[in-house]
Symmetry: C2
Subunit: 199 residues, 2 copies
């Protein structure tokens, strides 16, 4: 690819390293960057470095934040007796957007996956157990994904936490709101039937 | 979105400014960046700034390059009497990949589009005319896109250049190789019929 300049090739290479960015997108992005005002590109570069520099894990819930203790963990308006366990900060954000949850979180940063060689010690379970010891936690809501790994992690955690006398719940699994029964897979339909509630 | 840290929000914002990157992708990219090694992020940032800093337009063909005259224009192995006119450096790269063209290029950086308010003076037509005056050009191949704008630009250029006695050609339009007639649109089919060649 010597028909592009070396600098553009390097930029294309850097972009195509990113997840979900293929060769064509990387090319498009690189050409967009070189056509942008210099100050804007400088600002983008600075934001990249500064974000990587300052973002760290909350000492309490392990979410990605720029403070020692994240805003949710340090808020007095949240119910600290309920902890929702999620796989990633993005899942936390998804629940925050609903505006329906007022407890606190614990971010595992992954799920147990024997296939990928990820065991209980590779995700932030230890940190959760420490919180359960010291805090006055009444309920742990397991909100890991509905995938094989998420389910396995939920199962593992429930077995680990229940003996301590803490209520452990799992978010409901079923047909998504607005979803068509016709297009819903069998496992989800079976799960929806199992979890039916009386009206 | 105060459930992410300020730095992550800024990074998400920066990513979502890029073309083809939606809110979800921007989020995914931002989280990927903060989980990457610091040196790698630094290198990405440096490449961004350096590419924007060093890339400029070739004084001859106007393509994006890091030299005053791009490698193609300064090559003695290329046929400088044939100029292929394309809309962007990416189109130039697409033709270079075929390995079937040995002439030189001229990059317009756009196409005439009255809808978007882009006139002949907004793209690099002046620079092309200057080349036609001074160089010993025998043929101009119009390889703008097959879109409305590309066709209009080709038409405009052909009217402009033909009086100078230079041969003006247009790349063929028709059914793509490997394409199914059944799934080809009517305009393309009609164009393929018009442009039929004797065997």
């Amino acid at each position: 690819m010597d028909y592009y300049s070396k600098e553009i090739n390097q930029l294309i290479e850097q972009f195509s390293r990113l997840p979900g960015i293929g060769a064509k997108s990387a090319q498009r992005l690189a050409f967009y960057i070189v056509s942008e005002p210099k100050e804007q590109v400088k600002q983008f570069a600075d934001t990249l470095v500064s974000a990587r520099e300052h973002v760290r894990y909350c000492k309490c819930c392990q979410t990605l934040t720029d403070r020692e203790i994240c805003p949710i963990c340090s808020s007095k308006n949240r119910d600290h007796s309920t902890i929702m366990v999620v796989e990633s900060t993005r899942d936390l954000a998804a629940y925050e957007k609903t505006g329906k949850y007022n407890g606190v979180y614990h971010v595992l940063h992954g799920a147990i996956s024997p296939m990928l060689g990820i065991g209980p010690n590779d995700i932030r379970i230890k940190e959760l157990l420490v919180r359960l010891e010291s805090d006055e936690v009444k309920e742990v809501i397991l909100a890991t994904n509905s995938s094989l790994e998420g389910e396995a992690t939920a199962m593992y955690l429930s077995k680990l936490i229940r003996p301590a006398g803490i209520k452990v719940t799992r978010i409901a699994s079923g047909v998504p709101v607005g979803g068509d029964l016709e297009y819903t897979d069998e496992v989800t339909l079976a799960r929806a039937l199992e979890g039916r509630t009386q009206l």
